[in-house]
Subunit: 490 residues, 2 copies
Amino acid sequence: MPRAAGMPSLSELGLDTVGLRGVETRVQMRSEVMGYSRHGPALNVDLYQMTMAAAYFESGLDTTPTFELFVRELPERRSYLLVAGLAQAIEFLSGLAFHPAQIDYLRSLPSFKSVRDDFFDYLSSFEFRGEVWAMPEGSVAFQQEPLLRVKAGVIEAQVVETYLLSMVNFQTAIATKASRIAAAAAGRPVADFGTRRAHGPEAGVLAARACYVGGCSATSNVEAGFLFGIRPVGTAAHSYTMAYGSEELAFENYVKAFPEDASLLIDTYDTPNGARRAAKFGQSLGSVRIDSGDLVELSKKVREILDGSGCAETKIVASGDLNEYRIAELLKNGAPIDMFGVGTEMVVSKDAPALGGVYKMVDTGKEGADSYAVKYSAGKETYPGAKQVFRNADGAGNYESDTIGLADEEPGKDRITLLELVMKDGSPVKSAASLDDIRSAAAENLARLPEKYKRLEEPEDYPVRTSEALEELRSKAAEEMEKRGQGPKG
Amino acid sequence: MPRAAGMPSLSELGLDTVGLRGVETRVQMRSEVMGYSRHGPALNVDLYQMTMAAAYFESGLDTTPTFELFVRELPERRSYLLVAGLAQAIEFLSGLAFHPAQIDYLRSLPSFKSVRDDFFDYLSSFEFRGEVWAMPEGSVAFQQEPLLRVKAGVIEAQVVETYLLSMVNFQTAIATKASRIAAAAAGRPVADFGTRRAHGPEAGVLAARACYVGGCSATSNVEAGFLFGIRPVGTAAHSYTMAYGSEELAFENYVKAFPEDASLLIDTYDTPNGARRAAKFGQSLGSVRIDSGDLVELSKKVREILDGSGCAETKIVASGDLNEYRIAELLKNGAPIDMFGVGTEMVVSKDAPALGGVYKMVDTGKEGADSYAVKYSAGKETYPGAKQVFRNADGAGNYESDTIGLADEEPGKDRITLLELVMKDGSPVKSAASLDDIRSAAAENLARLPEKYKRLEEPEDYPVRTSEALEELRSKAAEEMEKRGQGPKG
C-alpha cells in the first residue's frame, strides 16, 4: 500500500522538482474550489463550535469534560450497526491545527468582532491533547451505545464534534448497508461500483473503504485502491462498445489489451448475442458482465452459452440497481451469478441515507454533583456519565445481549468490553489496524451475531440494557438538576 | 472571498516557512488517510475507464466522440432539477493530470501487466483538451435533458466520466432538495446545518454550496464560508449550556463574548424558562433557537415571552429534523418562526438521496452512419446525436415546455437555448459565475417555472418533447444498427 510511513520530504511532495510542480500547483489551486482546503480540515466545523470555543475561552472555563458519540435509534430497516471511520477520526484528531489563513478568516467574521486577540493566539497553537476510547472498526453496535468517547479540554472536545460525526456517521452507515448486501450475496463476491452516485468524489473513496469493511471484496474506485489497498476491478462501459461501432471489434481490442483476464460487458445490444461473441475468446475471457434486463433469465442463458463454448471457467458478473433484496431474490431464483457489482443503493445507503449519530456531553469535568451533564430537550434526553459497553456471549462466543454501564464498572465474568483506549494525550496509543484486519474482525463479529438479529426481513431486537449503576447516576443527576431548577420541568 | 487568484507561491503554500511546515506537513500526510490524495483527483475514476483507455490506446482508436450527462427519470417526489456542480466540474477538467505516483500505481495493477509503456507515457502528458457545453448552474432541468455535453478525444472524454457524474449528480440532488425547502419556508431564511450528517467532510462543504444555490441564505459549515464566501451562522449546542451547569451562567458568558448579536439555544432544559432567561439580555439578544419539542406551540409561547420582555426584535430560529413538508406544516399552523435551520434531510436529500445521472456516448466521432452511438440495453436505450435543449416561454417569460433537439438545429423564435459553450480546447471560455449570481439565476429560473410544476404535492409533469430532427436521427440509427446486426434485436 502506497501510504507514507513517515514525514514526506519536500521532494516527495513534488514541490522541489520543476517537472512536478506544475501538476502539484494545479492540484493545490484546484482544492480551493473542490470543496476541501489546502489548509487542512480545521474549518470543517459548524460555526457554533467556534463561537462556543470563544465563549469558553473568554469566560475562562477550563474544565475537561467527556463527550460520547452514539446513535439514539437504529435507522429504518437496520437491526445493528457496523462501526467504521475510526482511522480517519484518529488521523483528524492527531493532526488538527489551525492554519494562519483560517484564523484570519475567523477573525474577519462580523460575529467575532468583539472576540479578543488572545483567543486567536490560542487557536494558532491549538492541538488536540485529549483521551479517546472507541469501539474498534468492524465492531457490531446498537442504539444508545457510545461508539466513541472523548475526554479533553472543553474547547478541544467541543470543536472536533462535526468532523467526528460526519466521518463516523457516514462510514458506519455505509459499512452497515454493505454488510447486508454482502450477506445477501451468500459468499459470492460483491464489488462496489457506486462512486458516480456517491456524494462527491471524497464520499466515493470513503464509501469504497466502508464497503470493504462491510464485506465487499473489491471496488471500481481506483483512488480507494491507491490509498487503501483495496483491489480495483472493472469491465468496460457501453460507450466502449459504441466507440468501435461493432461489438466484435470492441471485444477483440479489449482482449488484445487484457489478454490474461478480460472482462467484457455483453448487454450493449442483445445479451445472448453478446455472450456468443465474447465466448469466442475462450481462455482469455475471465468474466462477462450483464447490466440490464431480466438478470435471472439472462444469466441462465449466458451460462448455457458460455458452458457450450468452452468457457465454463468464465464468471458472470451482474450489476444494475442491485441491493440486498434484489440479490437475495436473484439467488432464490437460481441465477448463476458469480459476482455482484453494486452501486447507488450501497454507497448512499439509499433506504437509510443518513445515520443520526450525535455527540453529547456526558460529564462536565467538574467535581461531584457539578459533574452531571444531562439534558431534557423533548425526545432527546441523555444519560450522564462516561460509559462502557459490556457484551455477553454464550459458550460458543455468540453474542447474547449488551449492557451499557459506567466506564469504571467491573466488566464481570465472560463479558466483552467494547470500548478501547485509542488515543492518550492526543496521540494514538497503537498503530492503526490494517484494513484487512478490520474487515476480518467485522466478518467475525457479524458471524457471532445470531441470525435472528440480522435477517433482512423482520429481525428481532437485540437486547441492550443499562446497568444499575448507570440508572442510579441518572436518577441522582435528575434529582440534582431539578433542585437547581434545570431539570426536566425547568 | 479568500480564493487564490493566481498560482500560489511556495511561501503561500506554507512550505518554505519553518513555522508553518509542521502544520502543512501534517495536513499533507493526513490526506493519504482522509480519502483524497495529495496527488489530485485523477484516480477518482472507475477502473474500467482506465482499462477502456488502455484498449483505445492500444488499438489506435483516435476518434473524437461526444458524451452527454443526463438524468433518465426524475427521482421520486421531484418535478424538476436545479443544476449545480459545474464550477467544480470545470476546475477538475482544467487541471486534470496524472501524477507519476498515480501512473506507477496503475502500472502495478495485475490487470495492466500486458499494457505497453507507451500508454503510461501517454498518461504522463495527459491533458483534457476537449469542448464542453453545459447548462449554467442554477438552471432548471428535466428528465432526458443533457446537463453537460463533452466532445473530446476518446480517452479524454471517457476518463472524466466518474468525477463529472459524482460532482454534478450530488450537487444537483442537493440544490434541488434545498430549493424545495427554501420554497416551503416562503421567504424566511433557511440555513444549512447538515454537515454532521453529510457523507463525509467534503460532502458537507459541497452540500453547503449546493444548498446556497438552491436558495439557502447561510450555512453552519465554516469551510464553506472560507472557500465559497457563504455566510456562516450558528448559535450554541446543548453541551455548551451543560458545560456551565447553569443556563443563566452559560447565557451570560455567551452574551459577553458576542454582545452585538448573541444567539442562544433555549431548549436544553425547559424551553419557556430558557426564553425568560434569554430575554434578560434585551437588545443583545439577536435570536433564540428551539431544537426540540412541539415547535408550533413552543414558538408561539417563546414569541409571547420575548415580546413581553422588550425583545420584540429577537428572532426565533427553529431546527430539528426539518424538511419541506414539516416547514410548510409549521407555517400553516402559524408558528412565528423567523428562520429555519435544516440539516440531515437537506444535505443527504433524504427522500431521494441519489440522483441517477448517466454519462453516455451519443456520437462516435466517426463519419456518416458510423457516427451513430446508440445502445439497446433493456430500459436503458439512448438517443443518438449531440443535443441542445430549447425552452419555450410565454410573453411574461414563464416556462411552458422544453424540446430536446439536435445541437445544430435552429433555436427558432422565442426559444431559449439552455446549453452554453463553457470550455474550448480544454480551457474555460469565461471566468466562473459568482456563487451569488448563480443563486440569483436559480431563484429567477424557479420563479419562471409555473407553480403547478413545482408544488410539493402532486405537481404536474412539465412537458419535455423531442424534436423531429432528433426522432429522425434515432430512426436512421436504429435502421443502420439493425442492418449491422447490433440493433435492438441483436
